[in-house]
Amino acid sequence: MDALGSLLSDFTVRTVMLGCALLGFTAGALGVFALLRRQSLLGDAISHAALPGVAIAFLLSGSRDPLVLVLGALASGWLGTLLVSAITRSTRLREDSALGIVLSVFFGIGLVILVIVNRLPTAGKAGLSTFLFGNASTMLTRDVWTICLLGLACLCCLALFWKEFKLISFDPQFAASTGLPERMLDTTLTTLIVLAIVIGLQAVGVVLMSALVVAPAAAARQFSDKLLNVVLLGGLFGALSGIGGAMLSASVEKLPTGPVIVVLASVLTLLAILLAPHRGLLPDWLRHLASRRRIETRRILQALYRLVESDPDPFRPHDPNALQAVGLKAARSTLAVMVDLGWVEYSGERGWVRLTAEGWEEARRSIGGELPA
């Protein structure tokens, strides 16, 4: 914990963490729109397609000025998006192929340029793997300021056009019928998503940045059915993964930032899919079990009632195995639940059971509507 304390008091580390938190928040929040508009893999293509832009910006400016790199990435990410839609519109190829081509070819071109750039004397320590897998610890204060500026701009834009973005994401045709400039809004939203990806490239890297757009959003979707909550949660999960990843990779040797952030975000998502209260698989399964058990207790209760229906002593004990005659298997656990409910009690040592007064009443009520057999 001491290590953590000293880590947090370090100014540089705090700056880096702020940056990672904000880029995570932006990616997570805008990722929700990518998720809802089925653009998750477009994010993958965009982040790879940004590489040549980064490399060329680096080559031309000769500096690592974050704003220049971001502009380069934005331009080539955008070009990639345009090409994907041009290919799908003008050929018989489907979107998956178009994405695959843009992603891999742009990335290849980016690599070729980077290798050349790296040989230049002016290159400094640009390090290939920083571009590919990200390295939060190389972030300088001005990088963080750039991230903050662009991230906040993205989020402000999202807030300003919130209801329009919501409408075009849900029902673009209706939006267009009311006279909204649907195409323009669509382009703006896609640009914001590209921007959210681009500002994360330095910390997370081109190869994995798309995961930070997909995973937190997918996790957030499991927790709420309200768009605003999903977007806020997506942002929160993204920020948490960003901070966690930056901290881990700063405090442990030889731990690349991008992959750590992605592992954190993905594990969060898998947990959310398993455990989220309403949509989670486990709660779903438990609810299913509970409802099956409820039906089973009803059926056993009714069967016990039928056994004693014409008996002068309605509380006569019975062998639970006798229920097999009516096709029911009274599992011990189910009987235990019924005992807990106070409907049934054990009688004697042979494990026989009998209805309680309460159980008898309950059974009569639940059979109520049915005609006597």
């Binding site: 192929s97 891999s104 290798v115 690349p256 899919i273």
Partner: protein, 368 residues
């Protein structure tokens, strides 16, 4: 064997192997499965290496390929929960597996001949350093491996040609005839995984995607049948591989990156120039037909209003632009075109169909 030849041979055999399975992926709308698998096999390679401690073990190939198949199974499982859609499921699974792979490699860096840059760059330039002898010839190990995989892919395509064709063009019929689509699917996925592992050394994970998708996509714009498409994509992939190599030598940069770039150039050329389906030939067709379709519309329009009370207004040559909502100049061009092609004539300012024009209009209206 000299350096250049070993590199070229390896590059071409990797390229053809990738393009064969890639063709099937493109046709089955599974292109991005190649992206997923080519990334996640990295984890497989690392884990298999940790288990065997031998980069040349055949178990490494199989173990790593198994992780590729596992990726697809995981994606299917996630889809089965109905909590995610396909794009998100793919976008969630492979970055996770890949990240774990990269973390493991970085942690082991130094102990192992594996590093995270090489994962993406490939080391095609060094294949000649690691050779094995076959039939008395010293051949690069990567070449031997990739040719073996190429052979396996070729066998799959040839032996299952009929089934593959059916499953692509009529999945329902294929299933009803008893070809299990699932079996074929997983056979393909397994081959993609094996191909990915075998090509990993040479081209790295992302550039492999270029070889698997771009040549088949370009080939699709050139072909009319599955066989043609397989042939074209193998040819285009080999050309890209050779072209990429010489480009890399020329500008002294990464070979795999240059191969990916030349795949892109190749696709771009086909996209622009393909006969019939290329952009240019489609522009030419459209330019040729620019006035044909509007003239047909005009013929139908006149046929609709012919002999009715509104005819003098609707079919008056001065009103065409207004009624069809065309620019006046365009409307004049269309009328001139239609008259030139004897679809209509003008009588006291009213446009009337000729016999030929009426025939065209009736045929169009009949067939929609």
């Amino acid at each position: 064997m000299n350096v250049e030849l070993s590199i070229l041979l390896t590059a071409v055999s990797v390229a053809i192997g990738c393009s064969l399975v890639g063709t099937l992926l493109v046709l089955r709308r599974m292109s991005l499965i190649s992206d997923a698998i080519s990334h996640s096999v990295l984890l497989g390679i690392v884990l298999a290496f940790l288990a065997t401690r031998d980069l040349n073990s055949p178990w490494l190939l199989l173990g790593a390929a198994a992780v590729g198949v596992l990726t697809v199974v995981l994606i299917q499982l996630l889809l089965g929960t109905r909590r995610l859609r396909e794009d998100s499921a793919i976008g969630l699974v492979f970055p996770l597996l890949f990240s774990i792979g990269v973390i493991l490699i970085t942690r082991m860096a130094g102990d192992v001949h594996l590093d995270s840059d090489a994962v993406l760059l490939g080391e095609l330039g060094f294949v000649w350093m690691d050779t094995a002898s076959l039939l008395g010839m010293e051949l690069p190990r990567s070449f031997l491996l990739s040719s073996a995989v190429l052979l396996a892919n070729l066998l799959f395509v040839v032996l299952c040609y009929k089934e593959l064709k059916l499953s692509i063009f009529d999945a329902g019929l294929a299933a009803s005839l008893g070809f299990s689509p699932l079996l074929l699917h997983y056979l393909l996925v397994s081959l993609v995984s094996v191909t990915a592992v075998a090509s990993f050394d040479a081209v790295g994970s992302i550039l492999m995607v270029a070889l698997m998708i771009a040549p088949p996509a370009a080939a699709w714009l050139l072909s009319r049948s599955l066989a043609q498409m397989l042939g074209w994509s193998a040819l285009l992939a080999s050309l890209s591989a050779v072209g990429g190599y010489y480009l890399a030598v020329r500008i002294d940069s990464n070979i795999a990156g240059c191969i990916a770039a030349s795949c892109g150039i190749c696709f771009l050329l086909c996209w622009l120039l393909a006969p019939e389906r290329g952009l240019i030939s489609r522009w030419l067709q459209q330019a040729e037909q620019r006035l044909l379709f509007p003239a047909q519309m005009l013929a139908v329009h006149i046929a609709n209003h012919e002999g009715r009370p509104e005819e003098p207004v609707e079919c008056h040559s001065g009103n065409i632009a207004e009624h069809m909502h065309w620019q006046q100049q365009f409307a004049d061009e269309v009328v001139a075109y239609a008259r030139q092609h004897r679809m209509l004539r003008e009588q006291e300012g009213i446009l009337r169909l000729t016999e030929e024009g009426r025939g065209i209009a009736e045929k169009l209206m009949l067939h929609g």
